[in-house]
């Protein structure tokens, strides 16, 4: 039998519903992953808790110190938001690369993170942006730094009954440039074989901070701070870039799937970390003029 659908209007009602049904309930955000699992009978929950009307999960807020994104904000809105494009282009680029426009119109940032699909773009960008996930659950609110969130493919640090309510992204240091590169091996609509997000803060041509996140080639998005540090205090020369690219390729355990073997992905990490850094060094990727939406 198909599940019932509850429509709480507040966060506390949503949490109460999840608590009441425990294992038999699933939160329903955009539904692009969940409806698929449901329809193909891979899951059979008794209750779906639809988050669409939960006020606390909506909205984008921009402040001096950062950007706060409600968990139910759609990926297309992030891809198209002029402020996100200006201030966090890596996130806009990553969101723009997800699936197709219909998926992006439906899928939410919170749902995307909670699903923890290893072959997804936004988590990689958020990893490089050092996002903080605001989570509410039966034991109250807590914050989870994104680096501690992904525990494996489709596995997160969320406890039973917990919901992501918002994603907070501290603004990168002044003088930062960033990008997100997606490498596909099959059709132009494919998921990434490798995704690379790079955020670099420059001061007078010297790299003050460098963050690289790599995903889709491995079970969860990865950063290697010890490799990132190779760049700090130096200009991004070819040699530095190559050392970082090499370091990421060496240190990340890659996986095999339809989009490429583990061995190939190691080399593709090297290539795309390098290309991402070259792009950042040489300037932002620009967006098309037609903002739409």
């Amino acid at each position: 039998m198909r599940p019932e659908v509850l429509h709480p209007a507040t966060l506390s009602d949503a949490l109460a519903a999840l608590a009441a049904y425990g294992e038999e309930a699933r939160p329903l955000a955009g539904g692009t992953a969940l409806v698929l699992l449901l329809h193909h009978r891979l899951i059979a929950p008794r209750v779906l808790v639809c988050l669409e009307e939960v006020r606390e999960l909506r909205g984008l807020q921009f402040a001096e110190e950062g950007i706060q994104i409600g968990a139910m904000v759609r990926l297309q809105e992030l891809a198209r938001s002029p402020q996100i494009r200006e201030r966090l282009p890596a996130l806009a680029l990553a969101c723009q690369e997800v699936g197709n426009i219909r998926i992006r119109n439906q899928a939410t940032l919170g749902g995307n993170l909670a699903e923890a699909d290893y072959a997804s773009d936004p988590p990689i960008a958020l990893m490089a942006l050092e996002a903080i996930l605001e989570v509410h659950g039966p034991n109250g609110p807590r914050e989870i730094p994104i680096a501690e969130f992904f525990r494996g493919p489709y596995t997160t640090a969320l406890e039973p009954g917990e919901l992501i309510t918002a994603v907070r992204i501290p603004l990168p240091p002044p003088g930062s440039r960033m990008t997100y590169l997606k490498f596909r091996t099959r059709s132009a609509e494919d998921r990434p074989c490798v995704g690379v997000a790079a955020v670099v803060a420059f001061e007078d041509g010297i790299c003050r901070e460098l963050r690289i996140a790599v995903g889709a080639a491995c079970e969860t998005p990865q950063r290697r701070p010890e490799v990132e540090r190779l760049a700090v205090g130096r200009p991004l020369t070819e040699a530095v870039i190559q050392a970082i690219a090499q370091g990421y390729a060496d240190q990340i355990e890659t996986l095999n799937d339809l989009r490429g073997s583990a061995a190939y992905r190691k080399r593709m990490i090297e290539v795309h970390v390098r290309r991402a850094l070259e792009e950042v060094r040489d300037g932002h990727r620009s967006f098309g003029a037609d903002a739409g939406c």
């Binding site: 091996t185 059709s187 132009a188 609509e189 339809l258 073997s261 190939y264 080399r267």
Partner: protein, 743 residues
């Protein structure tokens, strides 16, 4: 003139309004839903099958298992267009993952689904084999008890003295090419509705071959042909996947078991990947050539992986499987050995470009290897050897209409083959490639039609040709209009419905415009003859004195003595005048020598492209692609160009990304995210289409011609760019990268 005009598809408005009723849109009163229970094992004995728990589920109406076929009056269990080796549902043994072991009919899809899970089946797994070459080894597991060695058919083509040919060669090149199973991925899945009423079986099916379905079902149920009616709605894509017989026996058997209510079976997307695939092929090709580029001998050995059931493969192996792997070249000595091999994979069958795609992949890549070894321009090598009018092909046939070189030259013109070329330096290199192909159409097949002229001036064309998006009904109506002189707006197309239209073999092998078109011309001639005969007494003249003028008849030399067709009918008190048209092709090859008539005419196409290879990733960008086909007389240029372009898009998928992946027989990418087809962002940056016309030429189908050259043209361009030869499809970035970096 109705021919040569780009008129929109007949039901264009319904198509853009979304009101075309495909099979899934048909609703019949009391219609039930069916669901197939499939084997999870590639090869297993069925130890126990207990449908009882499923029968207890509310809403379940009937469950079909092999047991039912033992009942008196039951249909036969086994069918197949050639070898009757395929059971409607498995008995005792399953031979591929996805093979039907039972089927459920229920009031709702939910009940059918639940019942499918409740059926208890116990399997005992048996050793299985998946690769066609491995299947021919002595130690390989046997897929069918009656076929030791798994080769169910070996056909041969023998032309000239092979030994002498190789002896005369300065260079002998030998290579092996492979193609994997692929899926048609018509966006509309397979679907059937079947209903028994008053001893008659009616089947609505998304099929490309209504008369083959009729014949097969009549035979299975021991009925005369007329007791089976097959109605075909417009298809949401076919590409060969809906050719011959697919779900119809199962749906008909379910309807038989239910006895009266219509039963609908529509596949889920994942089931499409285990219903019919492209052949997994392994092609060994060896060619002797003189230093000046003259080909002296060619030997081809092809292992066609047919999957668990022979399906159409034996029929293909007696023609297509031999002649479509040689290439359009003058070669004094040619030997081909084609093996039809059973494996524990889903059955393989017709697939847009059937066996030409695989053949051209091998022989056109191989031609470039030869050119490279000779240090000769690939175009020049082909110029020296391509068949010209009057040349004899390896089947002994003389090729009269030969435009291979013209096709190729038209294609290469678009990529500026004669111009100096800059391949680039650094990380991105460019290259150009070309390929040409020849494809047989079906010999020994028949198309019939009926033209009915009504007194109100409407001309009905009754045809079994299936409209699956290729615009066949539009092109055929144009031919009917042109041949009768009746304005196109007054031509209506009826069918396909086996009760209402005369026989047609199948809508496949790009045969319809040509064959059905010829049948229409035949019918039109008869209609006009009949009109003259009827008009003669009315005009008080001899029929011989009469000529047709517009949609009327007049006496030669006396334009004032004229009568409109409608008036001829009215004055004779006729509601309508009918004429029948038949066109049949002869021929066929001797299976031992491959000599005879392989094809009534030859499909000819070429492609040329320019690619850019990213050396660091192996990723290929198609900068420019030009597809050229010999089109003979073009009926509808816009629709013909669409076919041509569609071939290229389809071919890009097959070349660069498509492959059903199996892990121990289990498909692991049976969905449209894991199995990808091209989107518009995968189009070449420039895509050109050339149709070579010859006003006096015959009418040619265009559904496939420019598809087979796509993969070898790209592979040849990659070789030109970076010196890497890929021999196993699809050409993935990783394969190129591995070849470049020696890993």
């Amino acid at each position: 003139m109705a021919i040569g005009r780009s008129v929109p598809m007949r039901d264009a408005e319904a198509r853009v309004r979304g009101t075309v009723a495909y099979l899934a849109d048909l609703r019949l009163p009391g219609m039930l839903t069916a669901k197939v229970v499939r084997s999870p094992f590639p090869h297993a004995r069925i130890r126990r099958l207990d449908p009882r728990p499923a029968l207890r589920i509310p809403g379940v109406v009937a469950i079909l298992t092999a047991e039912d076929f033992n009942r008196p009056g039951a249909p036969r269990l086994f069918y197949g267009v050639d070898r009757k080796d395929q059971p409607v549902v498995a008995r005792d043994r399953v031979r591929y993952v996805g093979e039907p072991v039972a089927a459920i009919v229920a009031e709702t899809a939910e009940a059918a689904e639940e019942a499918a899970q409740a059926i208890e089946v116990e399997y005992e797994e048996l050793p299985a084999v998946f690769d066609p070459l491995a299947a021919t080894k002595p130690e390989a597991p046997q897929v069918h008890e009656d076929c030791p060695g798994n080769v169910f058919l070996h056909t041969r083509l023998r032309h000239g003295d092979l030994e002498a040919g190789f002896a005369a060669a300065d260079l002998i090149v030998e290579e092996t090419y492979t193609t994997p199973p692929a899926c048609h991925v018509a966006l509309e899945p397979h679907g059937v509705i079947a209903q028994w009423a008053d001893g008659r079986l009616t089947v609505w099916s998304a099929t490309q071959a209504p008369f083959v379905v009729q014949e097969t079902l009549a035979e299975l149920f021991g009925l005369p042909r007329e007791a089976v009616r097959v109605i075909v709605p417009p298809l949401g894509g076919g590409y060969g996947g809906k050719g011959y017989v697919r779900l119809e026996p199962l749906a008909a058997a379910l309807a038989w078991k239910v006895g009266g209510r219509p039963v609908r079976l529509i596949l889920e997307r994942s089931e499409e990947f285990v219903t019919l695939t492209r052949h997994a092929a392994c092609i060994r090709i060896r060619t002797g050539v003189r230093r000046d580029g003259t080909l002296t001998a060619r030997q081809v050995e092809v292992y066609w992986g047919a999957g668990a059931y022979a399906d159409i493969t034996p029929r293909l192996l007696r023609g297509a499987g031999l002649v479509r792997v040689v290439g359009p070249y003058r070669i004094p000595a040619v030997h081909v050995d084609a093996y039809g091999v059973y494996t524990n994979l889903p059955p393989a069958g017709p697939f847009r470009g059937t066996m030409s795609f695989e053949g051209a992949w091998a022989y056109e890549s191989h031609m470039d290897t030869i050119a490279h070894e000779l240090g000769m321009d690939p175009l020049e090598l082909r110029r020296r050897n391509l068949l010209r009018p009057g040349d004899r092909f390896c089947t002994g046939e003389v090729i009269e209409e030969a435009f291979f070189l013209e096709c190729l030259e038209a294609a290469v013109r678009c990529v500026g083959w004669d111009q100096p070329y800059e391949k680039g330096e650094g990380g991105r290199r460019r290259g150009r490639g070309l390929a040409v192909m020849m494809k047989s159409t079906l010999p020994r097949s028949r198309s019939e039609c009926r033209l009915v002229l009504w007194a109100d001036g409407v001309l009905e064309l009754h045809t079994g040709t299936v409209e699956m998006g290729q615009g066949a009904h539009t092109a055929l109506a144009q031919i009917a209009a042109a041949e009768t002189g009746i304005p196109l707006e007054r031509v209506q197309v009826i069918g396909p419905d086996t009760d209402r239209v005369p026989y047609d073999a199948t809508t496949s092998a790009s045969r319809s415009t040509s064959m059905m078109g010829t049948a229409i011309r035949e019918a039109a001639l008869r209609l006009k003859e009949e009109m003259r005969r009827r008009a003669a007494p009315l005009l008080e003249a001899d029929p011989e004195e009469l000529i047709l003028q517009g949609t009327g008849v007049m006496v030669r030399g006396r334009p004032e003595v004229w009568i409109a067709w409608e008036d001829v009918l009215r004055r004779h008190g006729l509601e309508a005048l009918e004429a029948h048209g038949v066109f049949e092709t002869q021929g066929g090859l001797d299976p031992e020598t491959g000599q005879g008539i392989a094809s009534p005419h030859w499909h000819q196409g070429a492609g040329a492209c320019e690619v850019e290879v990213d050396i660091e990733t192996g990723k290929v960008r198609i900068l420019r692609y030009c597809a050229a086909a010999y089109a003979g007389r073009v009926i509808n240029p816009a629709l013909a160009t669409l076919q041509n372009e569609g071939n290229v898009v389809f071919g890009l998928g097959q070349a660069l990304m498509e492959q059903i992946l199996f892990d121990q027989g289990q498909p692991v990418n049976a969905n449209m995210s894991d199995y990808q087809i091209p989107s518009l962002r995968d189009l070449p940056e420039v895509l050109e289409s050339v149709l070579l016309e010859s006003p006096e030429g015959s009418i040619h189908g265009l559904g496939e011609m420019t598809l087979p050259p796509v993969a070898p043209a790209i592979a040849n361009a990659i070789f030109d760019a970076v010196g890497v030869r890929i021999r196993d499809l699809p050409i993935t970035p990783e394969k190129i990268w591995r070849a470049l970096h020696g890993e």
